[in-house]
C-alpha cells in the first residue's frame, strides 16, 4: 500500500492519540509527524495490518522520551507526597459534594475542579479539555445550579 494512502487512513487516529497526551496542537503534530516519518523509513518492513497500533506506540514511546527529559520528572519523583497525608484534615463538605454529587457528570466535575480549585479561566479549560468555551460555561452553570441547591440545604 502507498505511504500516502496509509497516512490518510490513520493520521486522524494518531493525531487524536497525540492530542490526548499533550493537548498542545503543535506538539501533537510533531509527534504525529515523527510517527509517520518512522513509518516512511520502515515501509518495506511494516505489514499494514499492524497499523495504527504501530504508529500509536511510536507516539507513546516518543512521549515517554519527552517525559524522561523533563525536569519535572525528577522534581515529581523526589517530591511526590502521599495523596492524603496523615496529618491532613478530612475532606470538606464542598470537596465531598464535588466528588459525590450524583447530578454531576465527570466532565462537570472536571470543569469545576479546573475553574474553582486550579484557578483556570474558561479559555484555559477549553484548551485543556478540547471542548468549546461555550460548553465549558454551560457545564459550570449547570454545576453551580446544583451547588446552590446543595449549599442552600447545608446552610439551612
Amino acid at each position: 500500500m502507498e505511504f500516502e494512502s496509509l497516512y490518510r487512513q490513520h493520521v486522524q487516529a494518531v493525531f487524536r492519540f497525540a492530542m490526548s497526551i499533550t493537548r498542545r496542537r503543535e506538539i501533537a503534530e510533531d509527534l504525529t509527524s515523527e510517527a509517520f516519518m518512522a513509518l516512511h523509513r520502515e515501509m518495506d518492513s511494516i505489514d499494514p495490518a499492524q497499523l495504527p497500533a504501530w504508529l500509536i506506540t511510536v507516539v507513546r514511546n516518543r512521549a515517554r522520551d519527552l517525559w524522561r527529559h523533563q525536569s519535572i520528572e525528577e522534581r515529581y519523583a523526589v517530591d511526590m507526597k502521599p495523596a492524603t497525608p496523615p496529618t491532613a484534615p478530612p475532606a470538606s463538605g464542598l470537596e465531598e459534594w464535588i466528588l459525590e454529587d450524583a447530578g454531576l457528570k465527570p466532565i462537570h466535575r472536571l470543569c469545576v475542579m479546573l475553574r474553582y480549585v486550579s484557578g483556570m479561566t474558561r479559555t484555559e479549560i477549553a484548551v485543556e479539555t478540547g471542548i468549546s468555551e461555550t460548553q465549558v460555561k454551560g457545564h459550570l452553570q449547570y454545576a453551580l445550579s446544583l451547588l446552590r441547591k446543595a449549599h442552600g440545604v447545608r446552610q439551612s
Binding site: R8, V11, Q12, A13, R16, F17, I21, R23, A28, E29, T32, E34, F36, A38, H40, R41, S45, I46, D47, A49, Q50, A53, I56, T57, V58, R60, N61, R62, A63, R64, D65, W67, I72, E73, Y76, D79, P82, A83, T84, A88, S92, L94, E95, I98, L99, P106, I107, L110, C111, R115, V117, S118, M120, T121, T129, G130, I131, L140, L144, L147
Partner: protein
Amino acid sequence: MSQPRDWDAEEREALDGLDGELAEIRRRHQDDPSLEMLRAAEADALPPEIKARVTRHLQDSAWSRAVVDGLRETGADDHLDAASEDRLFERITRKAQATPSRAPSRRRWSPAIAIGGLALAATLLIAVVVQRSGPDTVVPPDGASASIGVKPTIVDSVPTRPDPPRIAFAKPEVKLSPSALAWRGDAAANPFVRDLAPAIDAYRAGDYPRAVAAFDRLSAVYPGSIEVSFYLGVSRMLAGDDAGAIAPLEAAARLDNQTFADDVAWYLAIAQQRTGHPNARAKLADLCRGQGAHASSACAAVAQLDAAAPVPRPR
C-alpha cells in the same frame, strides 16, 4: 490563572461563603500530579517509574481519579482539518526525502561488486557488511519492548525484535451476543446497549485509546459482558498494548460464549504470541487443527512461526 475577581456575578453568588473551603481544597491538592501527568498516565505515555508513582497516587486519591474520569470525556472533537492534514503530509514527505535511509540496500552494493571485480573475497565482505547494516526486522510495537531501552530519537524508539515474528491480525467487526441482541428490541430503555454505544463508536472510528478507556470503565459495571471483555482486549491490541490485552481476553474466554469463542481464542493466542507466551504456538496449532473461523489464519501463523524458528525434529 484566574482569581476570584474574574468570576462573573453568578459564580460569585454561588460560591459566596465558600472561600475557606476552596482554599482548603487547593491546599490539600497542591502536590497532586499535574493535569499533564495524569493525562499521560491515562494514555500509558509515562516512563514506567513515573507511571508507577502516579498509579499509586490514583489508588489513594478520589480527587485525582475524578480528574482522570473527566479527562476521559474530553477530546472527542480533536482532529486535523484538511489543510493541516495536507500540510503535515508535505512536511513528512519533505523531511523523509531529505533524510537518507538508515539502511543501504543490496542493490546499492552491486555496482561496487562489478566495478571492483573482487570476486569471492569481496562478495563475502559485502555480504557481511550488508547483513550487519541492514534494516532491522520491524515488528509491531508492544508495551514490553516500548518500556525497555527507549533511546532519545524516534528512530531508536521504534521497537525492534528480530525473532520470533509477530502475527498480524485483522480488526474484528463489531457483533453482539444473542443476549445483547435480545435486548435491542427496546434499546432506548436498555442501559447496557446505551452504555456500550460510546465505546463501540470509538472502536469503529479507530480511536482505540478512547475505546480502551470506555471499555475499561464498562468492565467494572458489566463484568459478565462478553462484548466488553472481548472488545477491551482487542482495542488494547489495536492500541499496541498486547500485554494488557491478555487479561480481558482471558476473562472473555472464561465467559465461554459460543458467539465469540473462536474470536476470543484467536485474538488471545495472538496476544500471547506477541508477548512471548510459551504455549502460544501450541494454541495456534490447536486452532489450526480445528474447524473454527480462524483455522486457516492460525495455520498460516504457525507456518510463519516455524519458518522463523524451525522446530527441531526429534532424533
